[in-house]
Each structure stands twice: as C-alpha cells, then as structure tokens.
C-alpha cells in the first residue's frame, strides 16, 4: 500500500510533509527535530529529553502546562518523546482545530520562557521519571550497562534519559544554548496527516512558522564506532527474582539494506507462537522471555545500532547453558536451516503488522517524519514493503554470518542479589 506524502519547503529551511486521509474529521500535526541523545556530550547527557519537558513550561503568552490544557480542551490529545535520534511533538485533534496546534507549536518555537522557576521542579520530575523507568524497573539499569559497554565512542553509549549526575548538573544556560541550536526551522520537519485541504494547511504553517529565522546548522556528529574486535562481557548485580541476560550485536542503521533481512531474521526467531524461540524456550517454561529485536519502522536507529537478544529466566535455570543454546540456534541459521515456509510466514507477519499500523493518522505521520529525520528522506517508507518481499533465505544467512558473530557481541548478565548485598554495593541512581 503506497503512502502518499507531498513535500514542501519554506524559505527558512522548514520542511513540511502532508498526507490527506478524510476517514474521520481528525488530523495529526507533528514536528520532529533532529535533536536527541545522539547530539549530546558527557556532562549534559539527558538534556534533549529534559528539554522536551521544558517545551511544555510556557511561553510569553501561554502559561506553564497550559499548552496541554488548550489542546485537550479542543478535543485533542498530545505528547512528545525523545529518542537517540529525534525529538517529536504531536497533537492528534479534530481537523477543524488544526490552526490551534500550528499556532501553539510555532509559539513555543519562538517564545519559550526558560526560567529557573520552571527548570527546577521539572528537573525533579525528570529525575523521578528516571527512577521509574530505569532505576526501579526490572531491567532498566541492565540495558544502560549494555549500551555503555557496547559503544566506546559513539553517543549511543549513554541513555536518552541521561545520567542522574548530569540531570542534577546542567544549567539554564545549557538549556538556552540547546534551544537556540537545535530548535530551528532548518533542523526540523513538520508532518500533517488527516482530513485536511493541503493548501489551507500549508498556508497555516507559513503564517505561523514563516517568520522564524533559520539558524546556523548544528555541528555534525563525527564520532563513529569502529568494528568490535572480540566479545565484551559484564555482570550487573541487583535485587531481582529473575535471572536475565542481554546481548547486543552491532548492526547497520536505518538506511542500510541489510536491515530488511535482519528484520525477517528477528521475526523468524521471536514473533508469534510459531517462532523458533517461542517453541523452544517460552512454551516449555524454560524461559519467561527470549527475544531478538532489531527494531521496526520507523524505530530503527540512524547510526549503526544494536540487534538485541534478551532472555529472562527463573532463578533455578542455568543462564550459561541457555545462553550457549541460543548462540547455537543462531549458528544453525548460518548452516541454512530456514525453511521456505518460515520465510513466507515471517514476511507476511511483518507486512501485515505494517499495514495495521497504517490505521491511524498519527502513525502514518510518525513514519514519514521519523524517516525524514533519520534516513534523510521520507520516501524510504514506500520501499519497505518491496524490500521485505525481496528478502531471500540466502540474504538472511549472509547477514547472520556478517553481524551475529561472537566477536561482534556484547553480553550483560543480571545476577540477582539479596537486599543486604544491594546496600553493601552502594547507592544506585
């Protein structure tokens, strides 16, 4: 199914993508910035995400959190999220209220009010979010360890939410600098998808965004990870009922064609109850979870990312043995064990799930916007279906041999400990 987006540009460098779908009187308005933890440095990790929060703290005209109240009172829902590669703001609302979203988004791009009074409580909100999602969650800290170990140079080594010490340290000046550099029209893409008249929608964007000046482009990210030369391993101890291990294999980014056979490989291993891991480990209660994941469109990283194999086991199981078995399962693929039936099934699963995601304006806009930011061209979205259909067993065997090797692997094992040992090891934040 082709997804038709039109592309437009304003003089200040702003890119606008539009898509018409009159199914319901609704529209999704999104603005995506080339801003995320990829663009940070040690000392200010987490500032991209922190800044996402600050964008709701009001402008010269709109009070703190009033943005959300206005959109909701118009029957809309809204939110924002930060990833390694992009920061995205969106409003899903009745199509006759589009102007409201355009006006409010432009306002906070021009007139954001950044003060100590709004920064300080929000800093605590974000530290609370970090506690919730990472520190007190079963595997949050283990994931952080995995990325910190797998990447030695590239910014993907630190978490999107940032290190707690950095969250406590960065200043209002850091925020202001970040706003100036990254929240510029020439560093962003607007996507409008829904029951719209294209000309009208474009004129609204011109009216409110047209006078925002372009900024000097942000400095490029020049640090790249060199190929890994040998397995890396670590242990992470925490209070836990379950044992687990997480392994990451360096794989290419969103623009590389190898991503498609890797997606099919992951599906063969871990999507649905007919998948290899489900039948061998989960169904029989050998493990609670075993999965292999390389991400799915548009959530595939811009720069070379990690394909993650994860296993969660009950305390009576032998982690080492199960890990070995899983590596043997992967070796089997290299010996050409995939059946035509498996290949056909995996492709159908991917394509059907892709089609299902096209049911909302929100997801269609997300797909176009994030691809435009991460791959540099939204039209990649219309290649996905063909690329998946073209995947052969030989291609899967080839990418498995190329990327799923022990030398390219980083493994972190969660070792459960008692509360006493936890306190002995010192505080976690």
């Amino acid at each position: 199914m082709e997804l038709k987006f039109n592309i437009h540009h304003l003089e200040n460098g702003l890119t606008i993508l539009t898509h018409r779908d009159p199914f319901q009187p609704l529209v999704s308005f999104q603005i995506h910035f080339k801003a995320g933890s990829r663009y940070e440095r040690p000392g200010i990790t987490g500032i991209s995400h922190m800044f996402e929060h600050m964008m709701f703290k009001g402008t010269k005209k709109v009070g703190p959190e009033e943005f959300a109240r206005i959109i909701q009172a118009a029957g809309g829902s809204l939110n924002a999220f930060t990833t390694q590669d992009n920061t995205t703001y969106y409003e899903n609302l009745p199509s006759d209220k589009l102007e409201l979203a355009v006006k409010l988004e432009a306002d906070r791009l021009k007139n954001l009010r950044l003060t100590e009074e709004t920064l300080e409580p929000e800093r605590e909100v974000v530290r609370n979010e970090r506690k919730l999602r990472t520190v007190n969650s079963p595997f949050g800290l283990v994931y952080e360890k995995l990325y910190a170990l797998a990447y030695e140079r590239h910014p993907y080594q630190w978490p999107v939410i940032g290190w707690d010490s950095d969250l406590k340290a960065f200043t209002l000046e850091d925020c202001k600098e970040y706003y100036r550099i990254y929240y510029a029209p020439n560093n962003s893409v607007i996507v409008i998808s829904g029951d719209i008249e294209e000309e009208k929608a474009l004129s609204l964007v011109k009216k409110y965004f047209g006078d925002i000046p372009a900024q000097k482009p942000p400095p490029p990210i020049v640090t790249f990870e060199e190929p890994q030369r040998g397995e890396k391993r670590a242990i992470f101890k925490k209070v836990s009922k379950m044992k687990a291990f997480f392994a990451g294999f360096h794989v290419p980014g969103i623009k590389d064609d190898d991503i498609y056979p890797l997606m099919v490989l992951c599906t063969i291993f871990s999507t649905g109850k007919s998948s290899r891991f489900y039948k061998k480990y989960i169904k029989k209660g050998v493990a609670l979870e075993v999965s292999m994941d390389v991400g799915s469109p548009p959530f595939i990283s811009m720069d070379p990312g990690l394909l993650i194999v994860e296993a969660v086991l009950s305390p009576d199981k032998d982690t080492e043995k199960i890990e070995k078995n899983i590596w043997a399962d992967i070796e089997e693929i290299k010996r050409d064990s995939i059946t035509n039936e498996e290949l056909k099934r995996a492709k159908k699963q991917i394509l059907s799930s892709f089609l299902t995601s096209m049911q909302t304006n929100f997801f269609k806009a997300l797909l176009a916007g994030m691809y435009h930011i991460r791959a540099g061209d939204f039209s990649y979205i219309n290649r996905i279906e063909t690329k998946i259909k073209e995947v052969t067993i030989d291609m899967i065997v080839e990418v498995t041999k190329k990327y799923l090797t022990s030398d390219n692997r980083t493994v972190v094992t969660l070792v459960p400990i008692s509360s006493e040992e936890h306190h002995f090891l010192g505080p976690i934040s």
Partner: protein, 439 residues
Amino acid sequence: MTIQFKKINPLPVKKVRLENGITVWAIYYDRVPTISLNMIFKIGSFADPDGKAGTSDLCSEILTLGTEKMNSEEIAEMIDGLGASLSASSSWDFTQFHITGLAEDYSSFIHLLKDMVFTPTFDNNELSLLKERRTLKLMQNKDKPEVIADESFLKMLYKNNPYGNMPYGSYDSIPLISRKDVIDFHAKYYNPENTSFIVVGHISPDDVIDTIYKLFGDWKKSSEFSLPEFKIEEKGNHFYVIDRSDLTQSQIRLGHIGIVRNNPDYFPIILDNYILGGGGFSSRLMERIRAQKGYTYGITSSFSARRFPGPFTISTFTATQTTTEVIKEILYVLEDFKHNGPKQKEVFDAISFFTGSFPLKFETPSSIARQYIEIEVYGLSDDYIETYQENFSQIKKEDLNRVSNQYLFPQKMIGVIVGNKDEFLAELKSLGDVEEMGV
C-alpha cells in the same frame, strides 16, 4: 458558552440477535483491508471459583491451545502464517477472544473460533505448560513495584471479593486450578445467551452475519445459570506499607470503592474525574503534584466502572523522601474538590475534550470494536455512540458539584505504599492507621 464539536463520520453498522441469544454487531471499515474479530462472553473473573483466581482467564487461553482439528502448534502456524494475531483473556467483567488480521481471511478466523469454543481438547500437557508460563510471569511481577502496588491495593480494598484479585490470578492461585475447574467453567458459562460478536473490518456486514448464523445459529441455549453473590466489606482511613528497602521511589495507590457502569451519573462522574485526576495536565492532581511541586512524573485518578462497584483509584509514585508529603497533597486536593467542586471553565474544557476527542476512538477496527464491546457487556443503549457527544454537551457544573460530593470520600481511603519504609513510616503515621504487610 455553547459546546461545539465535529460529529464522527458514521460507519455502516448492522446488529442482529440470533434466536439462541447471540448478538452480532458488524461494522464496515474500509480505511485499510484489515479486520478486528471479537467474540465476547459476558463472564469474567468476577465468577472465578473461591480461592482459584485466574480460572476464567486460564479457561479462555486454554481454548486457543488445541481443538479436535488442530493442536496448538498448528493453530500458531495458521495465525502467524496469515500475519494475524490471536488473543484470549478475561477482565473482571468479560472474556474476549480477539483476532486481528487481513479481512480476506475472515472465514478462516471465524471457523477457528468456532472450533476453539465448541471442540477444545483441554490438553493436559498444554494446561500444565500454560500454568507454568503464568506462574513464571507472576514471579517476575514481584520485581515490578508498580504491579505489587496495584495488586495489593485491590486486595486490601476488596478483601475476599473477586474484584480483590487480578483477572490473571496470583502466584498462589494458578497452581490450584485443575483441568476439571476449567472444563466446568467452560461448560457453565460459555453459552450462546452470554455471547456477542463484534466484527469491524473491510468486509460486508451481511457476509459477517451470514457466516456467524451458519456456524453458531444452531448452538443450543443451556439452562439458566446464576451469577455468584457479590459482597463488599468497606474499611476506611487505613494505609498498608510494603517494605522494599532497595527502592529509591515509592509506589502509591489510594482510593475507595466506586461505581457500577450502569450508574445514571456515569457521564458526570467521569467528567468530574477528568478534572480531578483523569485529564493529564488538565487535572488538579497533576497541576498540584507534578507541575507545581515536581514530586512525581505522573499521577492519575480513575473510576473503573464495572458490573459491580469498581474501584476509584489514585495512582502515583515519588522519590522515597517525599512519600508522605505526596499523600498529604493528594488528600488536600481531594478534600477541596469534594467540597468546592470544579470551576466553570474546567467543566467547559472537560466537556469539550470528551465531545471533541470522541472521533479519535473511531480510527482503528480494534478501537471501534471496544466501543461496541462496552455497549454489549454493560447493556448500554443501541444509540449510545450516536448520542454520546450530545449527552456530554448537556452536562452542567451543578451536576459535577453534586457528584464530587456524592462519590468522593477522602476520609475513607485505603492506601498502599510500596517503598523503603525507614524513610517515611514515622511521618506517615500522622495521616492515619498504618499497617505493614508482606507481598
């Protein structure tokens, strides 16, 4: 001020009731060639046998793990091979078999459902593996403070009532459920008069109904069955603390028994709750506790309106050191709201939200199906969807003042806190009775 809103674009809908009592809703959806097929039984975990929480839910899943025609692997291969997904689960009030996939595969899906419900094998080996998977999952839940808080709150609020359990049961109850228990549950409650189909997809409603009639029309009504008695013992002003010294944050649940779905004040109550704590940044609790104080990342309140009175719950988390302060603040907001009610602008904005956002529930087959499932399970009127926006727009500030006062009880709260007790226990005692409990 008058409330203005865009009405939803109506979708072609057909409803029939078969002679044996089965209701079918077929809704035509042509945005993409997909389908959401739902078979609903108006029975849920409220009917779980005593001490065997999770029976209803387990019964639904075992039906998907083997029929006389296909074993579990063949079913999995069929579903995955069609790029579809199949799930079966119970909530407190109903059981849902849900298949999503391509509309062109409707016939395969509906035949599979028939086999699952009519000729399940209740395979012994499958059942013991299923129970093992469930208990593993429940063991892992003990690593999730938010789940411990949710489960313990219901337990303390409802005590031995079935609403005091999660529909998926507990680590202790699952091993006690036998093959006979699930077979009995199936025999007793899987009846045509208890069954509805909600089908939303790129397929003609007439075809949907014809096939269901052919496959399920002959299903005989069974004898009448009686529903279990539902007793609630209320206890107020009591905090339960679960000590987890390894945590840096406390999970907090506060609340009391709430309302049934058929409460005539349902619309004003959910509107009122939106202003109190259901409306994200438009709510009083979020404004006070996150925006002004920075004590949490999120706080919500909700009335879970059910067949029998469901819980009213306030749910949040905060750094260990601010635990008592957050509870104090919540009680303060609640007292103020009960006695003074919302402001006119808040009421206007909340109504605009409910009327304006209604079309967002009609974007995907599954979200559309959810609306009709609610109509079926709670016996709402057939024109519920058509009149929804209009009904909301008629609500007045006085209605909300009345329901704030009538349905909120800040003096009768049950609280559960999961966290490092050494940091907050002494202070917490100033707010009411405190009792420590294990998981």
